[in-house]
Amino acid sequence: MSWSMNEVEALAKKAARGAGMSWGFAEETGKATRCLLVHGIAVTEPLAELLALQDGMRHSALAPLDIAEVWSAPGGRLCPIAAGTCLSDFAWTLEERAISMGAVAYPVFLIPFAQMAARSLGRAVSLKFDGVEITVSATEIRVPGDDGALLITGCQTIQVSLAPRLSGHPLPQTSRAEIAPETAACLTQFAHRTYAPATEESRLAGAGSGLTDND
């Protein structure tokens, strides 16, 4: 089924919140998912897997403890949203030195944050994992020939640095997303956790009863 980008962003945000992220990170997840889908990278299934993998885990177990030589998570693998937000928050440090990360789950989700860094620095940024180099500018994402390699479930090391130039082929943009029914169902299930169960009381009072609506 064909989805609008607003729909997928809203679903991704709610699903991330449902899986335990705070609203600020849920918003980042929605925007990151949208950015990747706009560039034709099919990340809804990886998102569903990522949320399942990290379901209920504390943020502190998934985020860099501090901005050390190599960013790593106390819980083993970094959440790409937690690591990605740090990457865009600390973008200016790329002017001084490259950022190295240890193990990251679904590193494809780092790309939108590298792009945010590129935007704030006005420079191209390179992201390398498992021999794949992605370069991004404020408006473009470029990948080597096989963009299937982007959708790996995890990698052991990541290098982020300023790039002298963009390389690889630019990903064309699209305005619609196709989502497999089972993936949509999974994300919807996470999103469902953000909805309060209806009670008769809330049904009447929550939206305001008041005067007749049929006159």
């Binding site: 918003e27 309060a196 009670t199 929550g206 305001g208 008041g210 049929n214």
Partner: protein
């Protein structure tokens, strides 16, 4: 347009004055309202209108297509009319069937498109549309007027003008979805088209064409029922029908979820006020125009009906304010230096918020040349303001938070009334609702719609935080990410934040609805409780086929007898 450098230029009002809920809840439509922006464009660009299909039977069942042809593109309202059993009729979002359902199609639909839409549009949320559709909406008949008008016309009579005045519409829309909802085209797909750059132009066009459809529909049903006796509506009376709308909490979070957009709306309106206040003088023609609009606003206030006690009081203040304004002008004509500023400063001390905000709208009326360009500056590219500036210092974020959310420091957040409410989304209809924190188990589902409380929490943690980049603070306190973003947006967009507690025991959600609906251009706000209300849209506006030979922008206040003459 930009003003020549004026040493007396008045600055826009302080956000601390403007962004209070009670004031936002006192806004009126003005020249910058989205309906007016739309009709001015349709007129200026000489859009034409056709009705290529109208296949509706005597029971009122069938479909119709209304197409608007612009300089570069055409758009079609596809309307489906239904025979709804009265017991199923509800304006609430929990309804599953409606008297009429609509979509705005990007272009002119084929027969296959119509069939595809027939299978989906009548189902609304349970249906699915494509990128060719720009909106999805529905409407219900007014029980007080619809059948009465059909029967009267069928009998060869005209409906009673008083009854028409009291209700003001034949159908109420109960939701108008755009921006990618239900699979429709995203806003980003159309935002670069000149006709859709201003906000909500798709939705306003859809509603404008819906009004034309509904008037055609009653005349058509009357003619089918009584071909020998039925008459069409008299044109002057026809104009008196707007299209109603029933709006509830679904709309309330919008202003909080779109801070940059909110800023741009308010900033445009405040800039318009500042431009008029800064004028050195008013010509006799401008003074006369203002006086005429004041008379029409008084008639508008006299016609404003509401059964809600808070609104009744507000309308009573408005009527008294406008009378006071009339009296004031007779002793203080607009002939001195900076006459509008003098009038405004008087009003700040003499009128209620309802009256002040009405005066603001009236002061813009004589000055289309000076302010109408601002109507095109109300859109926002929100993607621009999403990224957090991690290099900003903790001290700067603290200072900004205290500037924007200074009011939160005087609230006792531990006292139950300060956090009495919870914004949540119900499982049942996936729509925003408002609950009582102490009485319902809904806190775990709280939506981030209480920026004041969240800012207060962040300020506590900021107090002892070492200075350095805010990125480091966020590493330690990731829960404040959402509010850091808002504070940084507010640095650049000073009207982005409401300076009031949106979860307090006394908060009135209808204030949020009114502000948004006033920007749409709605009139006759009629709250039905503290959390839903009815409005009227396009009442007295020329119909599409009349636009070519009528004033497109002189309809938002009723034409008084004096003006008729």
């Amino acid at each position: 347009m930009t003003l020549a450098v004026n040493p007396n230029a008045i600055a826009p009002r302080d956000p601390r004055v403007v962004m209070r809920l009670s004031r936002l809840g006192s806004f009126h439509q003005c020249r910058l309202s989205f309906m007016r922006v739309l009709l001015r464009r349709l007129k200026a660009e000489a859009w034409t209108f056709t009705r290529p299909e109208f296949e509706i039977n005597a029971r009122g069942v069938g479909h119709a297509v209304y197409t608007a042809h612009g300089p570069d593109r055409s758009y079609s309202l596809v309307a489906f009319a239904h025979d709804l059993p009265p017991e199923q009729r509800s304006d609430r979002v929990i309804a599953t069937a409606w008297d009429a359902t609509f979509t705005l199609y990007d272009g002119v639909p084929s027969a296959e498109d119509i069939e595809r839409l027939r299978g989906n549009i009548p189902k609304q949320e349970a249906g699915r549309v494509t990128a060719r559709e720009l909106s999805v909406s529905r409407a219900n008949r007014s029980v007080r007027l619809f059948d009465y008008v059909v029967e009267t016309l069928a009998a060869g009579q005209q409906p009673d003008a008083g009854r028409v005045q009291d209700v003001g519409y034949l159908m109420r829309t109960t939701a108008v979805y755009g921006s990618g909802k239900l699979g429709a085209a995203d806003r980003e797909e159309t935002a670069n088209r000149p006709e859709f750059q201003a906000p909500f132009q798709i939705e306003m066009l859809s509603v404008y064409l819906t009004r034309a459809f509904v008037l055609d529909l009653v005349e058509h049903i009357a003619a089918l029922r009584a071909p020998d006796t039925a008459v069409p509506m008299a044109p002057a009376l026809r104009r008196k029908f707007g299209i109603g709308n029933s709006t509830g909490l679904g709309m309330a979070p919008f202003l909080m979820n779109h801070p940059m957009l909110l800023n741009n709306w308010i900033a445009a309106r405040e800039e318009a006020l500042a431009r008029v206040r800064s004028l050195g003088s008013a010509t006799p023609a401008q003074q006369a125009l203002f006086a005429r609009f004041l008379a029409r606003a008084r008639e508008n206030a006299a016609n404003w009906r509401s059964e809600h006690p808070v609104q009744q009081e507000a309308v009573a203040s408005l009527r008294a304010d406008l009378a006071k304004l009339d009296t004031h002008l007779s002793s203080h004509p607009l002939t001195g230096d900076m006459p509008w500023n003098a009038l405004w400063l008087w009003a700040e001390g003499a009128l209620s918020e309802e009256g002040q905000e009405q005066l603001l709208s009236l002061m813009l009326e004589p000055y289309g040349d000076l302010v109408d360009d601002l109507g095109q500056k109300t859109q926002a590219n929100e993607a621009q303001c999403f990224a957090i500036d991690g290099a900003m210092t903790v001290a700067r974020v603290r200072q900004l938070t205290e500037d924007v959310f200074g009011w939160v420091m005087s609230v006792d957040w531990t006292a139950p009334p300060a956090q009495a409410r919870v914004w949540y989304v119900s499982e049942e209809k996936l729509e925003p609702r408002l609950g009582e924190r102490a009485e319902e188990p809904i806190e775990p589902y709280e939506q981030p719609l209480c920026p004041g409380r969240d800012a207060a929490r962040m300020l506590e943690d900021l107090r002892d935080a070492p200075d350095g980049p805010i990125a480091a603070f966020l590493l330690r306190y990731p829960q404040h990410r959402h509010i850091v973003r808002r504070v940084q947006i507010a640095e650049r967009y000073p009207y982005s934040e409401i300076r009031d507690n949106t979860i307090s025991a006394t908060m009135m959600p209808i204030d949020l609805l009114r502000a948004k609906l006033a920007f749409f251009g709605a009139v006759h706000f009629d709250p039905r409780s503290d959390r839903w209300l009815r409005i009227n849209m396009f009442r007295d506006a020329p119909f599409p086929l009349d636009l070519a030979h009528e004033d497109a922008d002189d309809w938002t206040y009723p034409l008084t007898e004096e003006v008729h003459q």
